[in-house]
């Protein structure tokens, strides 16, 4: 074989390196992690007494738990180069159906004293409600080929509207005590809030699913080059439906968690959850162009706004600075992503 060809001779036995995708993702994750640590350090330096208290740590984690569950699903969707604006409304809708069913199953329509049987049904109802919206989103995006931005903008409005129809526009405030005191405000191992444990488990499962399974690999492939994925025989349509379904189920779970924590269906307080989740995911290094991203990054990304919020309260800065600070970090993060892509494409 006489293939003495121009391209540079290469040393075959370069030491084994990790996949470039992982290295890039982790490089991005590394930077944003440093930002997070720097934020914590700055706040801690300004007010050492307040920052590292157990209470502040617990509340920051709890307040981030629900958002983190949404963001894990959002990471999958964004890696397929899609978007899901409906998560906050689906959260509310699932909380409502869950609370209503638990009430209906309890004597006098008041589920405050309900037992674990009723609560389990409530959980299932929340998950199924989320799944139904996710399935609808997925079918409209993948089969009807409607842009995900439009589909989920539609379900964003529709899910909230449907929830308000069910409740007549006022919150359901009867939630089983057994649920609220365990999942909602209970702790395990003395100090770790149960809500945080659940979110951590969801995150770990999400990271495992994305990083080590065929499902995860196909998620990257679909976002990277849909045509190529189709040609290699991947059922792209089915995969997209499943990704939106997964996000819906997680939004349903988040609705149940929110119900347990706040003891009410919080009709009006989730209108920007979708944007917060997207911001967290993008801050964490997941590319809106698809094909790139990680769950670890999302975890870090979700905590940055939370830490800013908490930090501003602790050091006495007007909290209205928080969205402005988040906005700056977010735009900077996307700018870096773009610059990196340009550098790559011009090679």
């Amino acid at each position: 074989m006489t293939s003495t060809v121009a391209e540079k001779p290469t040393e075959d036995d370069t030491p084994r390196r990790r996949p470039l995708r992982l290295r890039l993702a982790s490089a991005n994750t590394l930077w944003i992690s440093l930002v997070l640590l720097a934020l914590i350090a700055v706040f801690a330096a300004i007010n050492p007494g307040a920052v590292l208290t157990l209470f502040n740590l617990q509340t920051t984690l709890i307040e981030t738990s629900v958002l983190l569950v949404l963001a894990v699903g959002m990471t999958f969707v964004i890696i397929t180069s899609g978007i899901d604006l409906s998560v906050g409304s689906v959260l509310v809708f699932s909380g409502i159906t869950s609370a209503l069913v638990m009430n209906a199953m309890s004597p006098g329509g008041d589920s405050t004293g309900a037992g674990w049987g009723v609560i389990t049904v409530g959980l299932l109802v929340a998950l199924v409600s989320g799944a139904a919206w996710g399935l609808l989103n997925g079918i409209l995006v993948a089969k009807a080929k409607i842009p995900p931005l439009i589909v989920t903008l539609g379900s964003f409005g529709a899910a909230l509207g449907a929830g308000e129809l069910l409740t007549g526009g006022s919150d359901v405030r009867t939630v089983p005590d057994a649920l609220a005191t365990t999942l909602g405000s209970g702790t395990s191992f003395g100090v770790v809030p149960n809500l945080v444990i659940l979110a951590a488990v969801v995150t770990a499962v999400g990271a495992w699913l994305l990083g080590t399974t065929k499902f995860g690999r196909y998620t990257y492939a679909v976002g990277s080059n849909e045509v190529a994925a189709r040609r290699t025989g991947i059922a792209v349509t089915r995969h997209l439906v499943l990704v939106y379904l997964l996000t819906g189920v997680l939004a349903g779970l988040a609705g149940f968690m929110s119900l347990a924590y706040f003891r009410t269906t919080t009709l009006t307080s989730h209108s920007t959850d979708n944007l917060n989740a997207i911001a967290g995911v993008v801050l964490g290094g997941t590319s809106l162009f698809g094909g790139v991203g990680s769950i670890i990054g999302t975890v870090v990304g979700v905590f940055i706004p939370a830490v800013l919020q908490k930090g501003f309260v602790i050091i006495g800065v007007n909290v209205y600075w928080q969205p402005i600070a988040v906005a700056i970090v977010l735009v900077a993060a996307v700018w870096f992503d773009q610059a990196r892509r340009r550098a790559r494409n011009s090679r």
Binding site: S224, G291, R344
Partner: protein, 257 residues
């Protein structure tokens, strides 16, 4: 002469009122490179897509390894051992070489991925094709050159104990040195006993690596002859007029499309 691995017999294909393929015959033998040439719109891509299961033929027969087969989709084609390397590569930029080579057919149990096994197999395949231009099989595809990408796409096609590889314009976007590499690779595929179908517009490429040349003219197979029996001029005439001396269509005609 060896028995054909893949044969088309009297294949017809229409898209609505447009009759794209007229009674097309094609013979692909193992160990040979069969060039498929023809002008734009002659039906080359339709032939490839019919074999790959992307289009369904209207009439005629596809014979694979002596058995008439029906190929309803890309997966079924792959199961038979037919692989297609498309013009636009069909690689995922954000995935590395191993991930691309195994995309859709990952190894591992129950949804888990066996990365070590796949990495080893990818390396072995590249080595068996004497590919030396790729530093690490964990390189992201986006950082590869055009020739390297084409190499990966071809290596992907031979990873599956495939018997027939169809290459759609593999050198169209490449420079001189890279074209050289890819043509060497095409030759090696045939030397390993695969049936290779090479679609190309480049007569130099065709005459360099092809054992037989099949010419399509307005959806008709006007001639499939050994390369040594043809000259460059004859092939160009076949492509542009459908006949050259005694070869090709019986008399000049304007085929109705």
């Amino acid at each position: 002469m060896t028995e054909p691995i893949l044969e088309l017999r009297g294949v017809n294909k229409s898209f609505g009122p447009v009759h794209v393929l007229h009674d097309v015959d094609l013979v692909v033998r193992p160990g040979e490179v069969t060039a498929l040439v023809g002008d734009n719109g002659a039906g080359k891509s339709t032939v490839v897509k019919s074999i790959a299961g992307i289009h369904q033929i209207d009439s005629g027969e596809v014979v694979f390894d002596g058995e008439p087969v029906h190929i309803p989709g890309p997966r079924e084609a792959a199961t038979l051992g037919i692989e297609v390397v498309y013009q636009d590569l069909a690689l995922c930029d954000n995935l590395d070489i191993v991930q691309n080579m195994f995309l859709g057919r990952e190894r591992g149990k129950g949804g888990f991925l066996d990365e070590a096994d796949m990495e080893r197999a990818a390396r072995e395949t590249l080595a068996s094709l004497s590919v030396r231009t790729v530093k690490s099989v964990r390189t992201q595809v986006s950082s590869l050159s055009g020739g390297q990408r084409q190499t990966v796409a071809i290596a992907k096609a031979v990873l599956w104990n495939s018997k027939v590889v169809l290459l759609d314009e593999p050198t169209a976007a490449l420079g001189v040195a890279q074209t050289r590499q890819v043509l060497d690779l095409v030759r090696r595929l045939a030397d390993q006993g695969l049936g290779v179908v090479l679609i190309s517009h480049n007569m130099n490429d065709v005459f360099e690596v092809a054992d037989t040349i099949a010419t399509l003219y307005l959806g008709r197979m006007v001639a499939q002859l050994p390369t040594r029996d043809l000259t460059n001029t004859q092939v160009v005439e076949l492509i542009t007029a459908g006949r050259s001396g005694d070869i090709g269509l019986a008399k000049p005609e304007v085929a109705t499309v």
